[in-house]
């Protein structure tokens, strides 16, 4: 007998997550080869695919809870060889969708004792079998809820409330029962206190400080329940809302009024329902405002002088309104209301202007009719180049706030002006104000060029005012002194000149830049990053004039040191001697060499090899003073008197020997006596000589000069008559020594 699989029962319907009843075996397997093996299987796709249920090998099976519909069957296998397999009928367990209670709305805030709005159903229940039972619940603490009797529809109208109350809606399905109930969201009705009092109209409305177009308002609020106050003004047809203020406000300042009008004003209290409770209307008459009368004017050269009469009592100010002939208009001045005249000095020649004077009050303006003026052509002015017709005003550190102004703007009619700085930067003049602004501390160059149409009057010549200084007025640095060393070119190569600028007031820690320009505007020398005043030096300077700019690299302050010149020692020579002086030498004779402190340009940090033994400052007598030495002046005969110094190489070393040749003309007895003094072998001499170039030289001071040769002759007919002398001095290792001319002038000559 073939295998019979048996039958199972039964089909069921359950709620979501419900537990179906156990499946029963209506008939077990039979037939085939006895000894059966059972296996329960399930399907989720209507039996297309089957899955073995682990451990379900009995004739019956209890599946447990389900959340979706499933199909079940039982498989049987007999013990034959080969085994035979069979399946029972299929049973279906239908599972309802999960129950959803939906949502309700919404939270509210109410006054105590008032009834909230209806609690609505935003979305109804869904899922399960579809046969629902609603029940509204409330709570005063949000935790424990109670059913509300009779509240079983989808919406609910709460009663008047006096305390915060929570509401939610419970739903269950009749098939699944209350055990499967679901709950909506919770809404809260917040009770905020007692309801406001009944609103009423404000009272006591008054207007103060009434002027041409505004006033200040004050009133009293009456009753509660209002949300704002509104100020209304009558426009001739109706009262209109003009200003809105808070419900507690009792004043409003600057309420706008119609000028020259008796304004009517109300204040209205407005409740939450936008109901107006208005005060009685009051009136506010604005002060009078009107255009000035008697407006007239006249031309004062290029200036327009305007005058008028004020008739308003309520204007706050006057404005001067000007239009150009091209149509461009602007307010050029605002004047106090008491003003009755105005002079426009900003006009341009040959331009036509229209003027009106406007009485102003809070944006309202009443203007006079326009009157026109055409500015005449400029009168001829003195030539710009003949005088100082510009002015420069200083700048401040780090700022471009210096100004150069042409003092008479009529010059712009006849001249073109260019303004440049030392670095080539260019600047333009405002032809209305005559000013070139935005100038930082620097050197500037102003060039005036006559316009061709005025060549007939001013000529064609241009002129330049150069090295105009714009200086920082707040610069802490300042010049203490200048040391200038002259330049000499030749004969023994060049010796550069030098300028040292002794600057004080530098800011500690700042660095400085040093720029030196020459008269051709070229940069001769520059150095940056300077921290020491010793670097403000123009070494290796040619003989010319320099303009220096020292700039603080941190603050931008610039110090201008203009037009310091290095002189040149003239390089031309005239042969010969101009003057000759002798004085007796003694071992008491003393002298002071020229010291570094005597030299105008001596700088300790630069002149480390300063020679002090090539110049004598002064001779001192045995008494110690510069006086007390008797000097004799000798005649300087042409073609004879001369001084020479010669190097001699001796075994002792190198020495210089000075030889002075002197001639005395027309020898006679008087001169014989004086000559005897000179020739006295006990006398030694020092000499001072001025050469033809004007330099003073001296010798003999070390050991005294002696007469080494004497000659007198009458001379043959036509020859010289007189005597000649040779005076020799040993100068050891000293080249011919210079002597300060001040000593010679004061104590010798």
């Amino acid at each position: 007998m073939s295998l019979y699989s048996g039958t199972i029962a039964s089909n069921q319907t359950i709620c979501y997550n419900g537990n179906p009843a156990a499946f029963t075996s209506v008939a077990d397997a039979s037939g085939g080869t006895t000894g059966y093996t059972y296996q329960w299987q399930y399907s989720t796709d209507s039996g297309s695919t089957w899955v073995d249920i682990y451990g379900a090998n009995a004739t019956t099976y209890d599946s447990g809870t389900l959340t979706a519909t499933r199909w079940f069957r039982r498989r049987v296998i007999d013990s034959g060889t080969p085994a035979e397999t069979g399946y029972t009928n299929t049973v279906i367990v239908t599972v309802y969708p999960v129950l959803n209670a939906g949502s309700i709305g919404s939270n509210q805030t109410i006054y105590s004792g008032t009834t909230p709005a209806l609690l609505t159903s935003i979305s109804g229940a869904s899922g399960a079998s579809g046969d629902y039972v609603y029940q509204w619940q409330y709570s005063t603490n949000g935790t424990s809820y109670s059913n509300i009797a009779g509240a079983t529809s989808t919406t609910y109208q709460p009663p008047a409330l006096y305390a915060n109350t929570y509401y939610k809606r419970r739903v269950y399905d009749t098939f699944c029962g209350i055990g499967y109930a679901d709950y909506s969201n919770v809404v809260l009705i917040t009770v905020s206190g007692a309801p406001p009092a009944t609103p009423s109209a404000p009272s006591g409305l008054t207007a103060t400080n009434i002027d041409c177009a505004t006033c200040d308002l004050q009133w009293i609020n009456n009753g509660g329940g209002i949300v704002k106050n509104v100020i209304q003004r009558w426009d001739g047809i109706a009262f209109n809302d003009e200003e809105e203020v808070s419900f507690s406000a009792t004043t409003f300042n600057g309420f706008e009024l119609y000028p020259n009008t008796e304004n009517q004003i109300k204040v209205c209290a407005v409740d939450s329902g936008d109901t107006y409770y208005c005060s009685d209307a009051i009136t506010a008459q604005t002060t009078y405002i009107a255009a000035p009368t008697g407006f007239s004017g006249y031309l004062d050269d290029k200036n327009v002088v305007l005058s008028w009469t004020n008739i308003s009592t309520g204007a706050t100010e006057l404005s001067v309104y000007r239009c150009l002939s091209g149509g461009t208009c602007e307010y050029i001045a605002y004047l106090p209301y008491s003003a009755t005249t105005y002079t426009d000095t900003t006009t341009i020649r040959e331009e036509t202007y229209s003027y009106s004077i406007i009485s102003e009050c809070h944006g309202y303006g009443y203007g006079t009719p326009f009157i026109d003026f055409t500015i005449p052509t400029a009168p001829l002015v003195p030539p710009f180049c003949d005088g100082s017709n510009y002015a420069a005003s200083g700048s401040t550190c780090g700022n471009s706030d210096g100004v150069i102004a042409i003092t008479n703007i009529d010059y712009f009619t006849y001249y073109d002006f260019t303004l440049t700085d030392i670095t080539g930067g260019t600047y333009t003049f405002n032809t209305t104000t005559g000013e070139a602004t935005g100038l930082s501390s620097n050197y500037y160059f102003l060039t005036a060029t006559v316009k061709p149409e005025y060549w007939y009057y001013y000529g064609r010549e241009t002129c330049t005012f150069d090295w105009i200084k714009i200086e920082d007025t707040d610069n802490p640095a300042f010049l203490v002194g200048v040391s200038v060393k002259p330049q000499q070119c030749g004969p023994f190569d060049r010796q550069f000149g030098r300028i040292f600028y002794n600057v004080s007031g530098l800011t500690s820690g700042n660095t400085y830049s040093f720029y030196a320009f020459t008269s051709d505007l070229s940069l001769y020398y520059s150095k940056t990053g300077i921290t020491s005043t010793e670097d403000f030096i123009l070494a290796n300077a040619n003989a010319e004039c320099y303009w220096v700019l020292i700039r603080d690299e941190v603050t931008g302050c610039a110090l201008l040191l203009d037009n310091r010149c290095v002189p040149s020692i003239p390089f031309f020579s005239q042969g010969g001697i101009k003057k000759l002086y002798l004085a007796k030498w003694s071992s008491d004779l003393d002298w002071n060499y020229w010291k570094d402190s005597d030299e105008d340009y001596f700088l300790e940090f630069e002149d480390t090899s300063f020679f002090t033994s090539t110049k004598i400052k002064e001779y001192l007598s045995f008494t110690g003073g510069t006086t007390g030495i008797t000097w004799y002046e000798l005649p300087v005969a042409n073609k004879v008197v001369k001084l020479g110094q010669k190097l001699e190489k001796l075994r002792q070393g190198f020495i210089f020997t000075d030889t002075l040749s002197v001639a005395i003309a027309k020898y006679d007895a008087t001169k014989w006596t004086k000559m005897a003094t000179l020739l006295n072998p006990e006398n030694k001499w020092i000499y001072i000589m001025q050469d033809a170039d004007g330099y003073y030289w001296t010798g003999g001071y070390l050991h005294g000069a002696k007469i080494t040769a004497y000659n007198f002759k009458t001379g043959a007919r036509g020859e010289d008559n007189g005597c000649t002398l040779e005076i020799q001095a040993v100068s050891e290792n000293k080249l011919l020594v210079n002597i300060d001319e001040n000593y010679v002038i004061n104590y010798v000559e």
């Binding site: 023994f492 190569d493 060049r494 020579s573 090899s609 001369k642 010669k646 330099y695």
Partner: protein
């Protein structure tokens, strides 16, 4: 066989005199020069010494030495070189003589700085001279044995003469004056 011309036989134009002198006694560190100087001869022509010259800085680079000099436009300058043969052998005597017009304190100080040794003692500093003659030839004298101050004189003039310094230098050397060429 015709004679071979040894020198220029066409008698090219020539002028006598010294146009310019460059005189040096110190290196750029102000130290006296150390003779003989280190020289570099021109490749292929040992009559010419090559050197670099920066007139704006008044320095020449001769071999490994950096030398500072002074430019002098002299009056009445002459340079001579004489050969002498005696019992000891043969040598050349080179003489440089020139004048500086105008006596002034600045020139005196310059000369003192130039002539005196760095210690300030009056020991004459040894000198090398570069001579530019009126034919624009450049010569160097005193590079082997230095030029030594032979005489120094200053004098005021009479009868239209100049006030001037007169200096004369002499060197005795086995080496002849050489031409120089600038690199």
């Amino acid at each position: 066989m015709a004679a071979i011309p040894m020198f220029d036989l066409c008698q090219a134009p020539s002028m006598g005199g010294v146009k310019r002198l460059k005189l040096a006694t110190r290196d750029t560190s102000d130290n006296p020069l150390d003779f003989p100087l280190d020289i570099t001869l021109k490749v292929g022509d040992e009559s010419i010494i090559v050197l670099q010259d920066s007139e704006i800085n008044r320095t020449i680079t001769l071999g490994s030495q950096l030398i500072q000099y002074r430019i002098v436009y002299p009056l009445h300058a002459t340079v001579t070189e004489d050969e002498t043969t005696d019992r000891q052998g043969r040598f050349y005597t080179q003489t440089l003589t020139f004048e500086l017009p105008q006596i002034s304190l600045t020139t005196t100080n310059q000369l003192k700085s130039f002539l005196f040794t760095s210690s300030g003692e009056f020991a004459i500093s040894n000198m090398v001279a570069i001579i530019e003659d009126m034919n624009d030839n450049l010569w160097i004298c005193g590079y082997s044995q230095p030029l030594v101050l032979e005489s120094f004189e200053l004098q005021t003039g009479v009868d239209g003469e100049d006030n001037k310094y007169l200096l004369s230098y002499t060197a005795k050397s086995y080496s002849k004056i050489r031409q120089i060429e600038l690199l």
